[in-house]
Amino acid sequence: MRRVKRFAVMAVSAMLVSLVIPAGALAGGERHRLEFGSRPPMTDVKMKNVDGDSISISDVSGGRGTLVIFSCNACPWVKAWENRIAELGNTYSERGVGVIVINANDPDQVAEDRYEVMQERAQEKEFRFPYVVDSTSRVAAAFGATRTPEIFLFDGELRLVYHGAIDDNAKEPDKVESHYLREALEALLAGKPIEVRQTKALGCSIKFRNQA
C-alpha cells in the first residue's frame, strides 16, 4: 500500500513538473545541495557543545555511521519532533552511530535560539549526544541545509546515504506511517540499501547569520 502511495506521489509530481521551468532558471530557489555519496563538509570545524567543550563532526563520527541534525530551540516543528530526536539520537549513538545536533540559527534574530536555552533543552530532553552551536552558520550553509529539523545521515565511510525528514507526521507521533529516519538507520546498521533516501517536511527556515 505504501508503495502504491509513493508511486502516486511520484506520478503526480511528474505531471506537475510539466508546469514548472527548471530550478536553475528560478531565482533564489535553492542553496548548494549535498549530493548522495558526498562526504560531509567542514568536518573539522570546532563548535561549542552545551557542555562547554568544542567538538567537530569528525570528533563524533561513528564507525557505523554519522547522523547530523540541523535543529534549534524555537521552531515549532523541532519542538514537535524533539522527543523523537532525543530518542533516536540516544538509541543509535549507543549502537555505534555518531550523532551531532547543530544549531546554526542566529540568536540575534530569534532569542530563543541562544546557547543558554540550548543547554536547558538538552538537559530537559536528556540528550546523550552533542548539541552544538554553528556560530557562523557556515557549516549549515556548506551542507546546503535550509530548515530545521533537517537530517543528514552518512554511512561508515562518511558517504551521504539519507537526507530529509525524521518521519511523516510531526504533530502526531502516534499517527506516523513512515518512520523515514529510523528505517534508514536500521537499514544502514543491517548493511542493507536504504529504500527511501530523500524525504521532505515543512520546517522553519534556518536563520543564517549575514556572513554565512
Binding site: V12, A165, D168, L202
Partner: protein
Amino acid sequence: MLACALALALAGCAGSEALEGGSDPPSGGKGSGLAAPVVLPATGPQILEAVRSPGARAVLVNVWATWCLPCREEFPDLVRLRREYAGRGLRLILVSGDFESELAEVQRFLEEEGVDFPSYIKTGKDMEFIEALHPEWSGALPATFIYDRKGTLRHFWQEKATYARFEKKVVELLEESPPRRGRGHGSKEGS
C-alpha cells in the same frame, strides 16, 4: 469537489477582481472586528488547481505559518501587493503551513493583517504538498512561487523577500503580452 470549491472561492475574489479590473478588496483593516477570515484546507495539487483557475495575469503563492518570524515580517507586504495589483490581474494565494489544529490562531493572524479574502491551510502529508509545489523546495518557510497567466512557474524562492522583490517579479508578469491566439501553444514566454 474541494478543488472546485477552491477555484470558485478564488473566482469569487481575486480572480473576479482581476477580470473586472476591480478596485481594492473591501478592507477590514487591522483589528476591524469583521467575521473570521475563510481558511480552506488544501493539498498541493488543489493549490495548483487554484493557480490555474482562469482570470489572472500573475499568481503569487506564499506558504507561511503563524510562528514563522520571517513569514510574519513579509506578510504585510504581500497584503499590500495584492491591494496594489489585484486590479491589474494579480491573484494572491496564501497557504498556511500551520498544523490544522492551529486554525484559530491562523484566522486570528489573518484578521490582524486585514486579510478579508479566502486563503488556505495545508492538509495532507508534507512531502506530497512540497513535491506538488516544486521538486526543489526543501520545505523551508516562507516559500514564494510566482506563476504567469498560463500557470507556468516563473519564480520560486524559499526565504523572506522585500516588497520591492515581490513587486518587480509580479509587475514583469503583469506587463507581459498575452500569447497570440493560434500561435501560443507551446511557445516560450520571455523571462
